[in-house]
């Protein structure tokens, strides 16, 4: 039920009833580094779901059409295509290892039968074309059926080759390679609403590309100081506005967001808007700046709001108000009393992403112990859910989870000290139209659906 309201909600409100649908990946206890999922993204229709991993591979799942003879497989995602997007490289000049890990995948809006996506590692962005082939030409004059060339002198009659159906083959081919434009590590790519250009952002610079042109890129933001000793912040994420093709935002490690208008000047070093929540100076600690670092920024589908994710919270900002967010949602406030050990084991630097649902009425982000959090903005309710093999019976409802902070632990609650910090959910995605979510738990991909569907 894909209504404009985003998922058949009854008159009373947006009451989600999430159920397990599918899980992809192996149940190895020993997870190979290459299998760790590093990005998840639905395409514009939600029919395709792409994942990228640390091994440089992309796997695309396609939603099955509803089939009356197999009602249980309605809306299931199955493998559509898989390919090696990036390979490990070594930059001999700088003695730098270039990881093949896919940092981001972004789909292009569909314009013909083929599907296009951009995938990027730390240094190189690639445009991939995924196309179907279900016909094959037969009856060539100069070739045998098995491909061997015929002796032209033996050809006595001519025939017109005919197209015959064949088993569906999905091919992925790299159509453009956008390389050598980033000195630092690429953290974001974003396709513009003009469908012709896109941006790529690294720690210090943002570049603008045309999808057709690989040998030229325009630098639009450069925050590299003349003297690197004066470096105080880095770019952590960037995104184009969903409707205004001249507007982009980028977030920083200091917890600020700058909105830039490309019409104002060619180099957008001067922001048009500056979003920062004032900090209470008396509450400042060693950890303040680290936990304020924004790991993800996402515009709402409406284009009116944007959301930022820092270590402990998710904030919703009205683009018309720079002074403070309109909403702040605590993701795992109980970790504030664990910051010392989280700094020691580097977890404090984990980069969590966040996402909106199709109607912008709910937001989702991940946490530790394979927990993920969902905030219903209208009903002002939030819930903690878990992606685990234990709750993996088909169509089983997900039970809300609760972390206990105080002394007395109730039954079914889990104490902060028992949380597994190696089980991080950094990447989640929400179907653009329906209540279907994809949650990446290390090397497994979980798909949950709303029961009302």
């Amino acid at each position: 039920v894909a209504g404009a309201g985003g998922g058949g909600c009854p008159a009373g409100g947006n009451d989600f009833q999430w159920c397990f649908s599918q899980v992809k990946g192996a149940i190895d206890e020993d997870v190979a580094e290459a299998d760790i999922i590093s990005t998840v993204e639905f395409n514009y229709s939600g029919d395709l779901l792409a994942t990228g991993d640390k091994g440089g591979r992309v796997v695309i799942f396609q939603r099955e059409q509803e089939n009356k003879s197999r009602p249980h497989s309605r809306g299931e995602y199955n493998v559509y295509s898989t390919f090696q997007s990036h390979e490990p490289e070594f930059d001999y000049l700088k003695s730098l290892e270039i990881e093949e890990k896919i940092n981001k995948i972004r789909w292009l809006p569909q314009q013909n039968a083929a599907h296009f996506l951009l995938s990027t590692n730390d240094k190189t962005i690639k445009l991939w074309k995924i196309s179907e082939r279900d016909k094959r030409a037969e009856g060539y004059n100069l070739k045998d059926e098995d491909g061997r060339l015929r002796d032209p002198f033996r050809v006595t009659a001519l025939r017109v080759p005919i197209l015959k159906p064949m088993d569906l083959m999905v091919e992925a081919s790299p159509r453009r390679i956008f390389a050598n434009a980033h000195t630092y590590h690429i953290n974001s790519i974003s396709v513009n609403s003009d469908h012709e250009t896109y941006l790529s952002a690294d720690d210090l610079r943002i570049n603008l590309w045309h999808l057709e042109i690989t040998d030229r890129s325009f630098n639009i933001v450069d925050i590299k100081p003349a003297n690197m000793e004066e470096l105080t912040e880095v770019i952590t994420a960037a995104e184009f506005h969903p409707h205004q093709c001249n507007v982009l935002v980028y977030s920083s490690s200091k917890g600020t967001v700058r909105l830039c208008d490309m019409r104002s000047s060619a180099l957008c070093d001067r922001h048009s808007k500056f979003f920062e929540e004032p900090e209470d100076p008396s509450s400042r600690s060693f950890f303040s700046e680290i936990i304020s670092s924004i790991s993800d920024v996402k515009f709402s589908h409406s284009g009116r709001y944007m959301m930022t994710r820092d270590y402990l919270s998710v904030k919703v900002w009205d683009l018309n108000m720079e002074s403070r967010p309109v909403e702040t949602h605590q993701v795992h406030e109980y970790l504030r009393s664990k910051l010392c050990s989280l700094y020691e084991n580097d977890c404090i630097f984990d980069k969590f992403e966040c996402c909106w649902n199709g109607s912008d009425s709910a937001i989702m982000t991940g946490s530790y112990n394979n927990f993920f959090r969902m905030f219903d903005r209208n009903a002002r309710r939030d819930v903690t859910l878990e992606a685990s093999r234990e709750n993996s019976k088909p169509r089983a409802s997900l039970k809300p989870r609760k972390v206990c902070t105080g002394g007395k632990r109730k039954k079914d609650e889990i104490s902060v000290d028992s949380l597994d910090f190696n089980k991080k959910i950094l990447h989640t995605a929400w179907h653009p139209l329906e209540n279907i979510i994809a949650v990446a738990a290390t090397n497994n991909l979980y798909i949950f659906q709303d029961k009302i569907n």
Binding site: A26, P88, V234
Partner: protein, 141 residues
């Protein structure tokens, strides 16, 4: 380095904090954590930000192998064994010149992702013995 002189003694700060416990309940745990960290690592700078910290972040993935250094070291050593890099192969200082043998082998991932594996759906129903034909390459490595 100049930042150290600016900040007050953290122990004093927590002392003041305790008076304001009721109003600033949420801040106390963070400050307590800070004190814990400083106790463990007294040489830690006052501010975690700053160019050193950020520059380290910008340079992730640096691996040094300089063929010039390598050949010089080899020439110097002549008959002696070249010093190995020790347990942390990524840290190279002083006389520890990494040799090609010391650098961890680059594994190219030509194996199909397990997400696209044939039996990834049925695994949770069949008892734990999974067939991963595509993954055999990795097992053999």
């Amino acid at each position: 380095m100049s930042q150290k002189q600016d900040e007050e003694n953290p122990a004093e700060e927590t002392g003041e904090e305790k008076q304001d416990t009721q109003e600033k309940e949420g801040i106390l745990p963070e400050r307590a954590e800070e004190a814990k960290l400083k106790a463990k690592y007294p040489s830690l700078g006052q501010k975690p930000g700053g160019s050193d910290f950020l520059m380290k972040r910008l340079q992730k993935g640096q691996k040094y192998f300089d063929s010039g250094d390598y050949n010089m070291a080899k020439a110097k050593m002549k008959n002696k064994q070249l010093p190995s890099t020790g347990p942390d192969k990524n840290l190279v200082t002083g006389d520890h010149i990494p040799t090609p043998q010391d650098l961890p082998q680059r594994k190219s991932s030509l194996v199909t992702s397990k997400l696209a594996g044939l039996f990834s759906e049925e695994i949770f129903i069949i008892p734990p013995l999974h067939f991963d034909i595509q993954g055999l390459g990795m097992l053999a490595a």
